[in-house]
Amino acid sequence: MFSSVLVANRGLIQANCVRAVKELGCKAITIYAPNDRNSAGVRNADEAYELTVKSSGIPYLDIDQIVELADRLRVDAVHPGYGFLAQNVEFKRRLNEKGILLISPEFNAIDLLSNKSAFREFGRGLGMPILPGSETSSDVEELKAAASDIGYPVVMKATEGYGGIGLRVVERESEIEGNYRSITSQAERFLFQPERVYLEKCVKNARHVEFPVARDVNGNRVVFPERECTIQRRFQKLVTESPCSFISASLRNKLRSAVEMLVDQLDLKGFVSVEFLLDGDQAYLLEVNSYIQPSHAVTSLLTGVDMLREQVSIAAGQPLSFGQKAVDTDKVAIGVFVSAEDTENNFAPSPGKIDRLDLPYGDGVYSLTNVHTHDSVGTFYDPIIALVMTKENNRDKAINKMRTALDCLHIDGIRTSIPLMRALMAYPPYLSGDYDNQFLTTEENRDRIFESYRTPLDSEIASLVAALSLHRDSSKQHLLEQARSNSKSRIWDMASDWFNRQK
């Protein structure tokens, strides 16, 4: 086993990696930008080092600084978490030069996987179904021509994008150029090759499923139950169910075999997940993520396998500690990502200070969060602030438990996706499986979901509270006006009493 591991990430995954590394008996070292100083991962690490913030750029993407620190501290390995540098070939190469392992699949594998367009070709070569699409290009006119061939809408993708960054749905030709510009500008900031973009047919009304896979140095492999991540907004997953309740056993087996072939062909070592898009019964291979994903915690809960700990352990050359049978299950787990977004205002970011955070409560309800009461949620990073999970004998029970769990999750001070998620968990089309990847993308549908969750009594309470709050404002104003026009100090005292009492 390693003697020390540097966790080079922030937020939810940082804290969870620090925990996993500590449980393995390694020293857990981490980095942080100054405004993340109080976060759980930083507090819980054995050692934490502050990154120097350069005038431009994201500190967690500062390869020079992170490699230099890893080298100085003589760590054995770096855990990249997800996003940021997790799939960055340059980062892996630079660490390698210093004799430090980046915990990820090997060079040739991440080289291929981080290039989505090349990976499409590879998949096609294996005879797997691939969405209609284009080659990588940096010529807007070429992209326009390709889009016409494919037919609108298309998805424009940065060839080396990750984590939902660098993706755009393009509905008409006039939007190609602007989107190309915005993707390349984003690419520069998020450290992937700019100007490398390709197109893919946009299949609306589809489902997303992904198969997590672990494979050790000896080639032993375990395919975990698939996760369905259809409920998204802006290509970011909001709800994860595992296994998927809406695919047939025969389709599941077909996809599983494809996954097995793929990871063996690539001779992958470590943890990856293979993503498919389902258009009815037609499945398309989308991509392989070479890093552990935010949804991994749902699989950990479902199977009882501590995936992060296992990932570090495989990277250290240990064989898998469990077999295929250990992860086969007849239970269902569901995870809801809570984001600091205003779901009544098209998921606008909602930064601010958290006045109070109460996590959901009780047997069978599990939560991960890295924000706490009085923490501030900034605008610099991912808006995901919590993951709530339940596990039950079947999907209905898991959703029922989730509905109550979200009722018991309170975050005051900022707007979050909790109300929408809560309403979603009670919305009949969601319950019956009648949903797709566009489910939350239209305002009309979101309004319908909200409306189904409102009650006449609570509506009346809302009226009453609104009127009473305004009434208190006006009576206060009345009091203050009276005070101002009166020289007697007693009334001034009354007014300040009045104010103080409201604090």
């Binding site: 984590g163 960054i165 939007e175 602007g178 989107n179 510009r181 915005s182 500008s185 984003q186 802006r234 970011q236 600091a340 977004e341 009544e344 205002n345 998921f347 606008a348 970011p349 909602s350 930064p351 900034g378 605008t379 610099f380 990073y381 991912d382 808006p383 979200l406 009722d407 309170h410 909790i418 109300p419 809560r422 309403a423 409306e451 409102r454 006449p456 609570d458 509506s459 009346e460 309470i461 809302a462 009226s463 009453l464 509270v465 609104a466 009127a467 009473l468 709050s469 305004l470 009434h471 208190r472 404002d473 006006s474 009576s475 206060k476 104003q477 009345h478 009091l479 009492r501 409201q502």
Partner: protein, 171 residues
């Protein structure tokens, strides 16, 4: 004082007398019913936060418009948009609601303008994407509120904007 509150499902008439102190339970009339109400806690801005209605406890959250008028109340975590549009009182006249100048689009959050899809003078359709504002790793397409001509684009790519800054104007 009498308040008319409009909501999605109903229009309610609410009558509140007196100055409404803490601790003391008082009647409030809603349409034809009377509810006994006691305020337990208020927010820093004076809005009701914890309230006992007919002896039942409610944790609520009032969100206000720019002029301080309540525009939404969250009850049991579910948001209820509210609109108080008529107040009968001899003592207090609320200021008129702020007018929305259609065509002006301001930033609803702090962020960075990462792409302009159109330039000044371009024709624009209602709902078309005009620029992309990035915050929290996410890109937010800012759409044209109506069809017309893009009269003014107040920021260029790379600009950092604060909440409330003008982004562009459609005429």
């Amino acid at each position: 004082m009498k308040y008319k509150v409009r909501q999605a499902d109903a229009k309610r008439s609410i009558n509140i007398e007196g100055k409404y102190d803490f601790m003391e339970e008082s009647p409030i009339q809603i349409d034809k019913a009377t509810r006994m109400v006691r305020i337990l806690e208020t927010d820093t801005d004076g809005a009701v936060k914890t309230v006992m209605i007919d002896n039942r406890l409610y944790h609520v959250r009032v969100r206000r418009r720019g002029d301080g008028f309540p525009e939404e109340v969250v009850v049991k975590g579910v948001p209820y948009p509210v609109n108080i549009d008529k107040i009968e009182s001899t003592r207090y006249r609320p200021p008129p609601a702020p007018k929305k100048i259609a065509g002006d689009v301001v930033a609803s959050m702090p962020g960075q303008v990462i792409a302009l899809m159109l330039k000044e003078g371009d024709k624009v359709e209602k709902g078309q994407s005009v620029l992309i504002l990035e915050a929290m790793k996410m890109e937010n397409e800012i759409l044209a509120p109506k069809s017309g001509v893009l009269k003014k684009v107040a920021s260029k790519e790379g600009d950092l904007v604060m909440k409330g800054d003008l982004l562009f104007e459609v005429d």
